[in-house]
Amino acid sequence: MSFTLTDLWVILGCGAVTLLSRVFPFALLKKFQLPAGVIDFLTFVPIAIMTALCCQSLLVVHPGHWATLNLANCLAAIPATLAGILTKSLLAVVVVGIMAMALIRYFQWG
């Protein structure tokens, strides 16, 4: 449980890799104007990336085979989505989702 030299390298190395991925586009766009095609491409990034992130938590990966549904997450997603449609509030979606998941775990439905 002590802090090792490897730990230090991991923090510095991974920190640098992550920081560059985040900051580089900001520095670049300050200098250069993006071509219209790229801007058009980027307008689809939010919906595409958020959908992919949702799918990631609703599926269970089995390398070399088809992924299966994460049943507990899919079940909890139903009331969470309904809360979103009814209230249009992010907070409501999160709170309803957590409560639904606690119930699912309690009754072991997933």
Partner: protein, 236 residues
């Protein structure tokens, strides 16, 4: 969400996502504790690397004794989506100074990016440094503190999942994707639904042959290209 773009509004708008950070942050701290990471390492990962999913992967790779090079590469892979998000987000801050751009860029996350995209739907395509900075700072501090608290609690709570907190992150993305869907008047509902369906299908298909993080990237890029094509066909 109001169209106001002050620091205070930023603090208010980021509040719902805080639950996700606390839930997952505590979970990370507990996992890190049971994986024998020191408290200093947990704090270092959260405050220096600051990358939710990558931190879980780094922890498991450290536990499995992977070489540094493999850990660095995995981190790059998991975080490569940030290049796409930062490129999208940076367009809104071109008029700000380089220093402000670098500060915003350094603290971009999936959640603050998605929040910003929702926000610009109600502000007529504008964002401000003060608003984004407030959202970023709250997310950063809440994440870091939650993971450290989680690591300390690690010895006390055996099974945090029973309270459903691990679902906070998924719920948040469901909420964000729904709000994006109904509020992006520029792309419209039909086109966005088509893109969503395409991304989901492509992600499912590529997941069979690719690592989950690569599949995420392929599905995202594929979805954007698909959207561009559909939009073109529709216009002609």
């Amino acid at each position: 969400m109001t169209p106001e773009l002050t620091f205070r509004t930023g603090l208010k708008d980021v509040l719902p996502t805080v639950f996700g950070y606390i839930g997952v942050g505590l979970a990370f701290g507990i996992v890190a504790h049971t994986s024998h990471l020191s408290l200093l390492m947990v704090a270092g990962l959260s405050f220096v690397v600051y990358a939710g999913s990558a931190q879980f992967i780094i922890t498991s790779m450290l536990l499995a004794g992977n070489p540094l090079s493999a850990i660095f590469f995995s981190t790059f892979l998991v975080n490569s989506r940030m290049i796409l998000m930062s490129t999208s987000l940076a367009q809104y801050f071109r008029h700000e100074s380089l220093g402000k751009n670098l500060l915003l860029g350094a603290l971009v996350t999936d959640e603050t990016f998605a929040l910003a995209m929702n926000k610009q739907n109600v502000t007529g395509g504008r964002l401000s440094f003060a608003w984004q900075n407030a959202a970023n700072l709250v997310a950063y501090l809440v994440w870091g503190v939650s993971t450290v608290v989680g690591a300390i609690l690690g010895g006390l709570i055996a099974n945090p999942e029973q309270f459903g907190f691990d679902f906070a992150l998924t719920a948040m993305f469901i909420g964000l994707v729904y709000l994006q869907l109904i509020s992006d008047k520029h792309l419209g509902l039909t086109l966005q639904l088509l893109v969503m369906g395409f991304v989901a299908l492509l992600y499912y298909l590529t997941l069979r042959v690719l690592d989950a993080n690569l599949a995420l990237l392929v599905a995202t890029i594929g979805g954007c290209l698909f959207g561009m094509e559909v939009k073109k066909c529709h216009l002609h």
